[in-house]
Symmetry: C2
Subunit: 147 residues, 2 copies
DNA sequence: GCTTGTCTTGCAAACCTTTTGCATGTGTAT
DNA sequence: ATACACATGCAAAAGGTTTGCAAGACAAGC
């Protein structure tokens, strides 16, 4: 998952452009986000940034703030835990726009289906009468390694 | 959502056939399940059956048991709450097999896409190398009423 | 460079739903 | 009718998500 990291200064600029102050914890979260190919949970962020000594609540609030600013997307893959991943703005092939996520119910592995298109076959018109737009897709099943 | 309710006695028979005892709380949960067109949360069951005075933990365990027996499916629509719905066995058009669920991110309404087929376009083979089988699909977006 | 006002951080605790332990009670087979 | 395994109730532990509040840090302006 080749990721073109954005420089620290650009990151700061992006934050301020979004009306957010560029604080150490916030930049660290955003920076860590850049190195991940799948959405991470709050707990994983806390563990990953433990060496910095940032408070868990601070990291949590930053994730929420970054979501509000459009930098990250928040998804729930079905295990009652929020996961966050980079989205759009920060110029990155993986983060560009939304993409479906796949979760293996057996091993729990999470995969981003970056280039996959999903098409619905609206059998008897029923779908169109309810669904206007789809912005998030989660697929669950069994991965090839567990099959 | 025309639902052909199964008689109380048949219900009892089904339970016992599955190796579960037919107790009052269990039958009540299963019975309530039959009247629902969308998956309900544990809390909603507790509220709906409050008049019976059943313990919340009992209802919870029954839902899990019924899942284990294959009577109900448990889905997580993304709000960190388990929801349960009838599945298969109990002879019902809505419950027959799995179906995708749609959640409106704005109003929160949940819809079962009973007759919808979902097709993936596995762009560059990437998908097939990870996904073996898909058993659960959750779509999120905006419903027509909120559009 | 220093001051000020506002946004953030830390720490602690509240909340909610999900889960589990354990003694008591009940369905079922014998 | 009896006995045993399964279920129920009640209470509380867990795990993650959220929020309150006082102290601290960023960024703008003097």
């Amino acid at each position: 998952m080749a990721r073109t990291k954005v420089s620290l200064d650009s990151l700061r600029g992006l934050l301020r452009a979004a009306g957010l102050r560029s604080t150490a914890p916030r930049v660290a979260v955003l920076q860590h986000l850049q190195g991940c190919s799948v959405p991470l949970s709050h707990g994983e962020f806390v563990a990953a940034l433990a060496s910095h000594g940032y408070d868990a609540a601070t990291i949590y609030r930053n994730l929420i703030d970054l979501e509000g600013a459009g930098f990250v997307g928040r998804v729930n893959l079905g295990d009652n835990v929020w996961r966050f991943e980079l989205r759009g703005t920060t110029g990155d092939s993986h983060a560009k726009g939304e993409h479906p996520h796949f979760v293996c119910l057996q091993c729990g592995e999470i995969t981003c289906l970056a280039d996959v298109r999903v098409k619905l076959s609206p059998a008897p018109g029923s779908v169109k009468s309810v669904v206007s737009t789809i912005s998030d897709i989660v697929l669950k099943g069994q991965c090839t390694r567990c099959a």
